[in-house]
Point group: C2
């Protein structure tokens, strides 16, 4: 449709049509769309639907028989019933390889992460057994690898330790961990059921990048303890950079353990080289994936034959061989600890959710399938609730393992089932083998794993794209590194909110001009070639006009006018401004305060003998303007479909055109 052709004709025909139109041949001016009286119930329904059900989850249920509806509901809760039907041996081959690969990666990580949460090694392994199984039945992501992750382990450990000391009261500590895990699951499932999943969107990408980077550094710092062989007694309980560094230098004269350092450093080098190889050649992704297990095997063997543990090299020690003992009776359902667990659970649950949903979305977008955020939350929540009753702590999707899972060619959540079976077998039969594993190796594995969370490229990109986002990013990062995980999180959320509020409080306004050879009006700053129209000031307001900005918008528009009029005082042949056109295209909504502001604007303009004209109000804005009888106030013929229409009418009305543009 060559609707644009008019433009090249515009110039040629201008003089002709101009003289014509001024007399009687007024060009076609389309009426603005005055919508019918809005249906309140319908409007309310739409709002509720878009807020809570933007994905229209019940669409497939329409026009189905009752029995079909039951099947569909079951499939909605357990997606495995849907994709399981088309599962085949080819897919299983992919899942088997991927499952074995992530199992080899997760076992050493699990043991390390449980130390990060001040738990015995078996709890990490437990958490890699039950939750992935539950997830496989209920989750909708095909690539996510479920289990304990570094950041959540750190957060949970820090939060619970600030309430109960794991050394003096290990039982209470464990019970509070399970309580927190239970409520983390409840929080996640509740958000999903109530379809409040959008709440996690309030943690911006930038904030997450900063938070993750900070958490990675904090975790790496914590690993220096194991890495340098410092005993817990001499190590600080704080997680911030300064306390940890102080504590490390203080403990230097108590003696770091050089054997530990040698083992740790050499295997860290090995792991980093493996990581580098995997990064350089995507086909060799399995090198960094199995490097940790190889390190564990080699170093354990080395310690076992050299008896290095007698030289002060700390080792993992005996691991309980029982499989996930029930722990429902350990959850606090009353008293003070219930509240503590509840609070910690909410925080840990939200962070775990953010990580899992981000992973789910990333891989879904790479393979182009849909992940239902709310359903996902129900799955994650259920798996943590079940986990809390079977001696697991908060599990979620792991960035590093999900990437390996994806690269190893996983097809469905069956890879999680494979992994969980391998972990089960490990707990049952192989734990004695880990007795002599040096802690330093676990530290090296964790360090090499969390390094991947520091995304400097992303931070640079954020800096380039949006400075305010970068402030949020660095705020979260520095907050975590120099104070605590909680502080960083708080900073990130506050800055993110402040950004939204700032935008709604101080929206941009722009002066528009006509782009030569078109009938299009654009910001004269963005398009310096755009011409102003003599005697008319065109202002665009770049935001919904709400109570938070209505007064600013009004005063800003009046200031534009004053500035313009001051310019006019200079001895040029510019006519006085007679019309103020407000382009409402970006004004998506208005409220009572906004309408008040426009009424006041109109009154002020009347006193200055300037006519207020509106262009392109949207449906909602027009509805409300009519409800407030605003068009009667300024004249119903002062509202136009486009700025060009408005300009045209003004041109006719205006008599003192002193000079041409």
């Amino acid at each position: 449709m060559p609707d644009q052709d008019d433009k090249d004709l515009d110039t040629n025909l201008k003089s002709l049509t101009f003289s014509d139109s001024q007399t009687q041949n007024v060009p076609y001016i389309h009426k603005i769309g005055v919508p019918p009286k809005p249906d309140l119930l319908k409007e309310f329904k739409t709002t509720v639907k878009e807020t809570f059900f933007p994905d229209d989850p019940l669409r497939s249920f329409k026009d189905q028989t009752k029995s079909r509806k039951i099947v569909l509901s079951m499939q909605a809760i357990f997606p495995i019933l849907e994709w399981g039907r088309s599962y085949n041996i080819k897919k299983f081959r992919g899942d088997l390889i991927a499952g074995l690969t992530i199992a080899s990666l997760c076992i050493p990580q699990d043991i390390g992460y449980s130390k990060l949460a001040y738990l015995k090694p078996q709890y990490g392994l437990y958490s890699s057994f039950v939750p992935p199984l539950v997830y496989a039945f209920m989750g909708s992501s095909r690539d996510i690898a479920i289990g304990p992750v570094a950041v959540v382990s750190l957060l949970l450990g820090t939060l619970v330790r600030s309430e109960v000391d794991p050394n003096t009261e290990p039982d209470e500590y464990l019970r509070l961990i399970f309580t927190a895990t239970f409520f983390a699951g409840i929080t996640q499932a509740t958000l999903g059921v109530l379809r409040l999943g959008f709440l996690i969107d309030f943690l911006s990408h930038a904030a997450v990048v900063g938070f993750m980077g900070g958490a990675a550094i904090t975790i790496a710092l914590q690993q220096l303890k194991g890495f340098l062989g410092i005993s817990s007694k001499h190590f600080t309980k704080e997680t911030d950079l300064i306390s940890v560094m102080k504590s490390i230098f203080k403990s230097a004269h108590h003696g770091w353990n050089w054997q530990t350092i040698v083992i740790g450093a050499s295997f860290l080098a090995f792991l980093l080289v493996a990581k580098y190889i995997g990064k350089k050649n995507k086909k060799l992704f399995w090198v960094p994936a199995i490097a940790p297990l190889i390190s564990v095997i080699l170093s354990t063997f080395f310690v076992y034959i050299t008896h290095a543990n007698k030289e002060g090299v700390a080792i993992v020690g005996k691991i309980d061989k029982r499989i996930n003992p029930p722990s429902l009776d350990k959850i606090y359902f009353s008293g003070d600890n219930l509240l503590k667990g509840f609070r910690i659970g909410i925080e840990a649950g939200m962070i775990a959710l953010t990580e899992a949903v981000a992973i789910g979305r990333t891989f879904a977008s790479m393979k182009d399938y849909q992940v239902d955020g709310n359903k996902e939350m129900v799955a994650l929540g259920t798996m943590n609730v079940v986990g809390s009753m079977t001696s697991c702590y908060v599990a979620t999707g792991s960035f590093s393992r999900s990437a390996v899972n994806y690269m190893a060619g996983c097809q469905t959540a069956v890879s999680n089932i494979v992994m969980s079976i391998v972990v089960l077998l490990t707990v049952k039969f192989l734990t004695p083998l880990f007795e002599y594993t040096p802690n330093a190796i676990l530290s090296s594995i964790i360090i090499s794993a969390v390094i991947g969370l520091i995304d400097i490229d992303a931070a640079i990109l954020i800096w380039k794209i949006d400075k305010f986002d970068f402030v949020a990013c660095m705020g979260a990062f520095l907050g975590v590194v120099f104070k605590s995980v909680e502080t960083g999180l708080l900073i990130a959320v506050v800055i993110s909110f402040a950004k939204i509020l700032l935008q709604v409080t101080r929206p941009r306004t722009a002066i528009l001009g006509k782009i030569p050879m078109t009938s299009v009006y654009r910001n004269i700053e963005q398009y310096p070639e755009a011409n102003r129209i003599p005697g008319v000031l065109i202002v665009r307001v770049d935001s919904a006009v709400y109570f938070s900005n209505s007064n600013y918008v009004k005063e800003r528009i009046l200031r534009w006018l004053s500035e313009e009029e001051e310019d006019k005082l200079k001895p040029t042949c510019q006519p006085r401004i007679q019309f103020l056109i407000v382009d409402l295209s970006p004004v998506t909504d208005i409220d009572t305060s906004g309408i008040h502001a426009f009424e006041e604007l109109h009154r002020s303009l009347q006193k200055r003998d300037v006519q207020l004209v509106l262009a392109n109000p949207g449906q909602q804005v027009l509805d409300k303007l009519y409800a407030a009888h605003f068009p009667n106030m300024i004249g119903e013929n002062k509202i136009f479909l486009t700025v060009a229409d408005a300009i045209h009418t003004c041109s006719i009305a205006k008599s003192e055109l002193i000079c041409e543009v």
Copy 2:
């Protein structure tokens, strides 16, 4: 400029230009404005300026000599130096009459309001002496009448009474009142100096309407005590409707005092009639203005001669004749009470500020002069700080008295000076006359004054204009009436914020169509006559794309596409959708999460073999898209100035036009 003429030619010339343009004569398509690399420092400066100095307060200081600058600064702090120079006898006549009128209104109100704050009558009068004087020198509103007001008195009384009992510890109570007043002033002045005045804009008009209405009802309920002659012992300390009604019915058998009721009811009737007369005939505005004073004089005389006080009619009693004793030593500057006073001061200060700024703006807009919000806050803050040191409690602008001031023809803040001198003389010489004034009269005066705060018309208008605003309004109203002033306030603020966040979380999206005979594309819901373009889906996103909505926006656009494609499956001759044009006109900003979402959208569309095209990105959006190299991703020639340009290019590219629209 008849830029619109093209439209009527459009139709005639379409076939000609269409065939032409498809070969080589492509119509003029203006390039999008790729702005120069933004200057970070400049951008930062602009943001800071628009956020904190939107009124450009230093404009008049530009290019001035040093001595002139000093004069200007003094004038900025004390506007009286500016307007005082053009003050004349004619203005003074207006101010004198207005000042005397508001003095006659404020004296009985002051006595009543101080009882509302559980203070002795003189403190109300004190607060009508010092603060108005200070304000007259520093304030920029010409119409505001300063003094104690009902809502702040109630709020302050309720808050302080929840900490200290005024009956058992009257001294501590008074000290805490002064402390709160001091910090209310500090809060107000600080907000002004830090130019954070925009914070009070976060209390929306709707919330204020609801809050004021609720407060009026609460205050009226409190007056039933004095009105029915119930002793304080039998009256509840709660302010909510249910507690008060219970307490009133319980006390019925202790005996209401019928003499009190007769006096109160007859004068309330008189006051309401006077109010009605003033409302019907604007020229008789002085009738309701002096009615309270007449009631006081008549009823006092009546009680004095009938000795009705011996019959159980409660009277005001002796009033201290001293003039504002210093109270700096009574302010708590340490300890627990400092904190309490600080907290209460912030709340009372913010509410007082909201009221004063609303009044200032209303009258400024009626007389078309500017009130500088931040300067105003410094003035109000200073007057309360000075007030707290001279036995005053929180004063602010009174709605009812300011209206009377305006109607009585005040010209400048001199009317406040006149009023304060009259109050001074009253305290010094006339207080003995108030000894026999019955409390019931004060209750009647307060009831008739606060009735004006219940703005049912405004509430109806809010309902008509914006349902969400109405929810905020009713939330605040019901919160105040059924729970407490604080609860109502909290509800109002929370709902107001929720509204902003909801808008940023779930922005509207719309499908656009071409309006016949124009090259304009608009929402097809608003303009049902608009035609869709075959093979092209045009979606407009109605908000900045931020982290809080980026994921929703992406998924919503994809859902539009899916819905459209499903429609296409029906047996009509519609071509498959090949282009998805996103109209970015209302997208005022984007952040890193938003760009991620667009990248993901592009990838998803590629998989479906649909080309993503952008139309009319604003400057900020374009900057960021380029910083993220997004145009390279989708093709730099896929970004257009207008939807029409985009459509034109798509039309040429597209080959399988199966049927016409």
